[in-house]
Symmetry: C2
Subunit: 303 residues, 2 copies
DNA sequence: AATAATGATAAGCATTACTTATGAATATAA
DNA sequence: TTATATTCATAAGTAATGCTTATCATTATT
C-alpha cells in the first residue's frame, strides 16, 4: 500500500469518475486505474464497482475509504508537525552552564532570549564542566556554556568572549598600593580557591603558576560569592572572572578589586554542542543573544 | 512520503540503531538509511541525531514518530477491515422481490439464510419489476428475484426455478368438472388480473393469449391474496403461480384449484444482479439457499 | 449508424527503492 | 600506539514500481 493510493481512492470516491479523479490527482487515468486495481488486489476487496459508464463505492469500500481519510488526516498532521518543527528557533532547548558563569550570564540572557527567541523553551542546568560534557555527549543537554574547549571530537564550539580575571582583596590590603596588579604580585599563600572540579579553580591556579602541591589553603568554596564574602571577612584574597564583579555588591562590602594586568589572565568562554546537533542555526542565534548582553568588562569575539 | 518510511522511522526509534532497525524491516541498512534521509529532507526536519556510534530521537522526531505510529495503526485497521470485508458472504445485501413472489418465498428464505449466511445483513424491498430493475442498475439494490429476464446487458441472472400456473375458481364452478384444465378452457371473460405493472398480469394474459384490448374486467388487484379472495366471493376466476397456493388457506375458503395443464403455463424465476457486482460468490450461495426451501409444486433448476 | 464517453489494457520510459561493496569515523582491545 | 570492530554514510548498479501515451471495448447519445 501507498499513501498516494489512499489519495487516489479518496479522489475516486469523491468524483465517482476515474478520469476526473485522476485529473484531481495530477496523474493520468490509466495510472490511477492501475494503482487502484493493484490496491484492490492487495486488500482482496473490490472498493469500487464500475462498468463502462458508472462508478459506485462498495460497502467494503465505504469503510476502507473512511479509514483512508483518517490515515491521510494523520499524515497531514505529520507534515504540519514538521512545518512547526522546521523552525530551528522553536522547541525545547536544554542548556548547561558552569557555576562561575550561570549567576552572571543567565539573568540577562533569559530576558533577551525571551525577546529574540520567543518560541524557544529553555531549560537550564548548572553543573561542573566534566558532568556537562558527559551530558552533552549522551544527549541529555543540547549545549553548554563552558570555559574550556571540549576534548571529545564529537563536540564543537562557538567562541563567545574572553573574560579577564580580577583580583579581589580586602580594603587596606597591601595590594591596594599597586597601580597595576600582576599575577606575580599576588600573595599566593593567601589565595582562596573554589573546590576541585570547578574549572575556574584550575584556571586561577594556572594563571598564578600554582599546582596542587602548592596548596596552602583548604577552603573549598563552590561559588564565587562565597569567595568574595571570605575576602570581605579578611580571610585572604581571590581571583574572579570579570562577569562576577557586580559593582553594586562590591561597593561598601569591604573589598576592593583590580583587573589583573597580565595578557594571559583571562579565560575564553565557549558555547559547546554536539557536532551532530541538528539545529545549528539556533546555536548561532543563541550565541548572538549571549553576546548582546555582555558587559564592557569582557571582550566579545563575535559581532 | 511512504508508508514504509513510517515503518522505518518507527523501527529506528525502537532500536536506536540503524542496522538492527533495518534487519527488523527486512531491508539492508543503506536502504533504510537513505529512505530516512530522504524523508527528513522532505519534511525539512531531522528526526534522528546520529553519529558513527549512537542514534538519538530529536524533539521533532518524537512528535512525528508518535504521529507515524497513529498513521500505521489506522493503516493496520484498513487491512483488518479488508480482511473482514473479504468474506463475500458477510456485509450488507439489498434484495428486491416482486409482490407475487415475496410473500411466499421470503418467510422460508429468511429462516434458511440466517443459518446459511449468518453474517449477512439482508435488507428486503418489494416492488414491481421495472422499478426493481432501475434500482439494480443504479446500485440501489444488489439483486432482485424476478420473473422476467433482464433487458439491460449490464444485468445477468442465475436461473432459480420454474413455477407452474394454477387456476383458482369458486367451488361448484364449471371448471370443477374438468379433470385437466388447459388455458383454452378458461373463461377469459371471468378472468381476474393484477394491476398493470405487475409482471404476473402480463404472464397470465400471455398464457391465455389475451392482450390489453381484450380486457373485460376493470379489477386492478395488487396482490394475489386479493384475487383469491375475490374468487372466493365468486367474482370470477384467476390464475396464480404455484407458490401462492397455501393449502391451509385454500381449504375451506370456498375456492378450488387445478394446475394448468399446458406445457407453457409456467414462469421462470431469476436471481438478477449487475454483472459488475463484486460478490458473485454470495449470489451463488444465495441462489442455493433459495432453492433449498422450494416446495414440490415448483421445478428447481439448480441443485 | 456515427459519435462521444469511459474505464481497461498495452508498451515503453522514468523514477524510486533496493542490493552489495566500500568508506569514514570512532570506540575497544591487544 | 596499532589493530580490530562497530556503525552510519556513500557509491554503483539493478530491480521494481509507477507513470505516460496510445489504443481498445463497451455503452450512451445524437
Amino acid at each position: 500500500m501507498n499513501i498516494r493510493d489512499l489519495e487516489y481512492i479518496k479522489s475516486v470516491s469523491k468524483h465517482l469518475h476515474f478520469g476526473e479523479a485522476a485529473l484531481a490527482c495530477n496523474v493520468s487515468q490509466p495510472a490511477l486505474s492501475s494503482q487502484i486495481k493493484k490496491l484492490e488486489t492487495e486488500l482482496g476487496v473490490t472498493l469500487f464497482e464500475r462498468d463502462n459508464r458508472s462508478v459506485r463505492v462498495t460497502d467494503a469500500g465505504r469503510d476502507i475509504i473512511a479509514l483512508a481519510d483518517d490515515a491521510l488526516s494523520v499524515i497531514g498532521n505529520i507534515y504540519s508537525a514538521a512545518e512547526t518543527a522546521r523552525d530551528p528557533l522553536s522547541g525545547e532547548f536544554r542548556l548547561g552552564t558552569i557555576p562561575t558563569i550561570a549567576p552572571y550570564l543567565f539573568p540577562n540572557f533569559v530576558t533577551q532570549s525571551r525577546a529574540a527567541l520567543p518560541s524557544l523553551k529553555l531549560q537550564f542546568r548548572e553543573d561542573i564542566t566534566d558532568r556537562l560534557n558527559d551530558s552533552l555527549l549522551s544527549g541529555d543537554l543540547d549545549a553548554a556554556i563552558l570555559a574550556t574547549p571540549p576534548e571529545s571530537s564529537k563536540l564543537d564550539v562557538i567562541e563567545l568572549y574572553d573574560e579577564p580575571f580580577w583580583v579581589i582583596f580586602p580594603e587596606h590590603h597591601d595590594l591596594q598600593s599597586f597601580k597595576r596588579v600582576r599575577t606575580k604580585d599576588l600573595p599566593t599563600d593567601e589565595l582562596l580557591l573554589l573546590a576541585e572540579g570547578h574549572c575556574f579553580r584550575d584556571q586561577a591556579m594556572d594563571v598564578c603558576r600554582l599546582d596542587s602541591s602548592n596548596e596552602t589553603y583548604t577552603v573549598r568554596a563552590t561559588s564565587l560569592e562565597t569567595l568574595i564574602n571570605m575576602v570581605a571577612a579578611r580571610q585572604g584574597v581571590t581571583l574572579v572572572p570579570a562577569m562576577a564583579l557586580n559593582p553594586r555588591r562590591i561597593s561598601g562590602s569591604g573589598v576592593d578589586t583590580q583587573k589583573l594586568n597580565d595578557k594571559s589572565a583571562y579565560r575564553r568562554i565557549y558555547l559547546t554542542y554536539r557536532k551532530s546537533f541538528p539545529r545549528q542555526a539556533l546555536l548561532q542565534k543563541m550565541a548572538d543573544v549571549f553576546c548582546e548582553g555582555l558587559p564592557e568588562t569582557v571582550k566579545r569575539i563575535r559581532g
